[in-house]
């Protein structure tokens, strides 16, 4: 194609993107079709990838095609394996895409579709993708060192320790938050619980197949596993209608929480081949399949969004979680726009597999664009529901009431029409006893997905199957993250504990495994339990805590990145990482402050503790509930302390980085860049 035609094409793509973004931002009269969202997202991604990521690659980072990557220099056939870039982006995407980009946007839909969608798209291209790409690049230039190691070497000793502690704390809160979502989705749902329970024997069967019958034949085992899981989803309806079986699989929230904690302990302590690895294969397959199916379904059905662009809850009084758009929309969306956790993946296995430096652009920047698109699709699926139904599913009983009539009356008083019979009928149509009080995002997303899927295949007849397929898909990979996270958390506890008491540091020592698994499960289990008991639904406190933690980690990655850029002498381009870093520091510090000190008891942990204490003192709480109320006070204070400690850790790292920066900028200090020395590649470019 000649130059002029290319230029015209890119101008057309840019105009399409800009028009679609403006329609999303400013159109208020007509309900929007989902196609606007797809065009806005895809066109923005294309322009950002073509121009911005290329600029970062060439000018800011200076990707060098002649330089040998760690995969070439250190090739060992195991960790350091030069991998085709299309295969590697698949690996990397499967690793970074978790439940976060599905749940976050669904929760943030309470503000309306506009703020969340714009942040998902713009936050990703200017923040999340930049973080992933730069971290991947810096780690690749350091033989695949972890974020913690890079923080220690480039920022300072304390930086490394802080990063390790922050990662452990974030892991605990993350695991609690996602476990809570599973509990909310499966309580009193025999069909969903049965399907998810069946994934355990199916995974064990696959594990035995992969280990003893046909070692390492991942595709065969996964195909068998997926077929069995599909059968489990379909057979769940028979469990649902059988009085005996449905009773056996009906659990309350607390009972499910205990089951999940025990499961997490088992998955962490059992050999990895038996449960964790096969589940992971299964979940990766279903994850990619469901995401592709959702994209196809949205394009086929082209649904109209029912949710308004902005709702009244931008004032901070939202029933799903409390707080204004700034900072809470950013905190809630987290993963789909910027996810700190990705920095751990981008400084893990991926940098050891890159064949050529130039591939880091597609793998790092490109995979995050795909994740952002998953977030946009989740936003569409949530906003396809009528707002009344969305709030009926997501608002906790403590706010809207326990019966359909009470919930409908409250939601109508907010200005969203809702017929109490409609929500009862919808629950029956999807094969559930009730959809009320299912705060957490998974069920409303599943209803949205089921509507889109059944609009493509099967119509209303298959709505219940599609709903339970969507619930299984979300719960399956949440549990996979839970397994894998608990296990890695266990290793971290062992590593930290080993410094105090040596035997604990040995990975194969059985008492050490049991103690550290118990500690890590106890830690996230505590926050999970607290969420299950919370009269406000739990998500209101646990999800923002997770969002803050995740965004703080992103701030850490960008602080490390900015420091390295300065050391590389790239002062001119420092804004590339500095601007998203400043945004994240502002968001997380404001959110932390508000979550701790805000006078509104639904936002501020301390004021909620004070309100409960005042209720106890005035005798408003019956004597038999006083102990539980005191427990709530303790939990709120604990949440405040955790938020404070996390923010303080990042603040300390920031201060340390600022000292390094001012040394370079104002005192002309010589610093060492800990890059691996240059070695010329022996491979031809573009392989």
């Amino acid at each position: 194609m000649n130059k002029i035609a290319k230029a015209i094409l890119w101008i057309a793509i840019s105009l399409a993107g800009a028009t679609a973004l403006s329609v999303i931002a400013f159109e208020r009269k007509e309900p929007l079709n989902a196609v606007w969202f797809i065009v806005a997202a895809v066109a923005t991604y294309m322009v950002a990838y073509r121009f911005y990521s290329k600029f970062i690659a060439a000018k800011v980072l200076g990707l060098d095609e002649s330089r040998a990557t760690p995969a070439e220099r250190l090739e060992d056939g195991k960790d350091f394996v030069p991998t085709n870039k299309w295969v590697l982006i698949g690996h990397h995407f499967a690793a970074i895409a978790g439940p976060g980009p599905l749940v976050g946007p669904t929760l943030a839909a309470q503000f309306g579709y506009m703020p969340g969608t714009l942040w998902l798209i713009l936050g990703a291209v200017l923040g999340g993708c930049v973080q992933d790409f730069t971290t991947l690049f810096f780690s690749m230039r350091r033989d695949g060192k972890s974020l913690g190691q890079m923080a220690r070497e480039e920022v300072g000793k304390r930086g490394g320790m802080l990063a390790l502690l922050a990662v452990l704390a974030i892991m605990v809160i993350l695991l609690a938050a996602i476990a809570l979502i599973v509990v909310k989705a499966l309580k009193d749902s025999p069909w969903g619980t049965f399907t998810l329970a069946m994934t355990i024997p199916i995974a064990i069967l696959m594990g035995i197949y992969l280990r003893f019958l046909r070692p390492g034949r991942v595709l065969e085992a996964s195909i068998i596993g997926v077929a069995l899981i599909m059968f489990a989803v379909v057979s769940g309806q028979w469990v649902n209608v059988s009085p005996t079986w449905s009773r056996a699989f009906t659990f309350s929230g607390p009972a499910l929480a205990i089951a999940i904690i025990i499961y997490g302990f088992a998955a962490s302590a059992l050999p990895v081949w038996l449960l964790l690895a096969p589940r992971d294969y299964l979940s990766a397959f279903i994850k990619v399949g469901a995401i592709v199916a959702l994209a196809g379904g949205i394009l086929f059905v082209r649904p109209t969004l029912q949710m308004p662009a902005l709702t009244r809850f931008i004032d901070g009084s939202g029933p799903v979680f409390a707080g204004k758009i700034f900072p809470f929309c950013f905190i809630t969306i987290a993963c789909g726009a910027v996810s700190g956790f990705h920095a751990l993946i981008a400084s893990g296995t991926t940098p050891k597999m890159i064949m050529h430096e130039s591939h880091a652009r597609m793998v790092g920047y490109g995979a995050m664009l795909m994740e952002s698109f998953v977030g946009v699709m989740a936003m569409i699926a949530a906003c396809v529901l009528s707002p009344g139904v969305y709030f009926a599913i997501n608002a906790p009983a403590g706010i809207v009431g326990k019966t359909p009539e009470a919930a409908a009356a409250t939601i109508r008083s907010w200005g969203f029409p809702l017929d109490p019979h409609a929500i009862v009928t919808l629950a029956q149509r999807v094969g559930e006893r009730t959809l009320l009080d299912r705060t957490g995002g998974a069920p409303s997303l599943a209803v949205g997905m089921a509507q889109i899927f059944s609009g493509t295949i099967g119509g209303d007849r298959l709505l219940s199957i599609w709903y339970h397929f969507a619930i299984m898909f979300e719960a399956l990979f949440i549990l996979t993250v839970l397994d894998a996270g608990t296990r890695v958390g266990r290793f971290m506890v062992q590593e930290l504990g080993g410094r105090v008491w040596k035997p604990l540091g040995q990975r194969g020592w059985i008492p050490g495994i049991l103690i550290s698994s118990g500690l890590i499960c106890g830690a996230w289990g505590y926050f999970l339990w607290q969420g299950v008991q919370d009269p406000l639904g739990g998500i209101n406190s646990v999800w923002p805590l997770f969002g803050i933690a995740n965004q703080l980690l992103a701030a850490v990655a960008l602080v490390v990145g900015t420091t390295i850029l300065l050391k590389m002498g790239k002062l001119k381009w420092i804004w590339v990482t500095l601007a998203p870093m400043a945004m994240l520091v502002a968001v997380t510090m404001t959110a932390s402050y508000q979550k701790i000190f805000d006078a509104n008891p639904r936002i501020g942990f301390l004021s909620q503790a004070r309100v409960i204490a005042a209720q106890i003192a005035s005798g408003a709480i019956p004597p038999d509930r006083v102990a539980a109320a005191q427990h709530l006070i303790f939990n709120n204070r604990l949440d405040a302390a955790v938020t404070g400690v996390l923010a303080a850790m990042v603040f300390a790292l920031l201060v340390e980085a600022l000292t390094v920066w001012s040394g370079i900028l104002f005192q002309g200090k010589q610093t060492t860049l800990h890059e691996t020395p240059y070695v010329a590649t022996r491979w031809a470019a573009g392989d």
Partner: protein, 72 residues
Amino acid sequence: MQKLTKRMAQLNRALQKAWRYLRQATGDAAYENYVKYCAEKKSSSNPPKRMTRSEFYSDALKRKYSTINRCC
């Protein structure tokens, strides 16, 4: 007819390519890659000791799940 045969051959190639991609992306072909690597290094001064398929699978899992490899 000739056109159809050509189309079929094209389709066959595309399907084979997709299958190869799937095998690489899922890790199904990991052991074959490893065997190829060992064969290439056989003549080097320090040739690696080749693991069996079963040993390689266990070793790969141990390495994969001892670090953060799944995200939120």
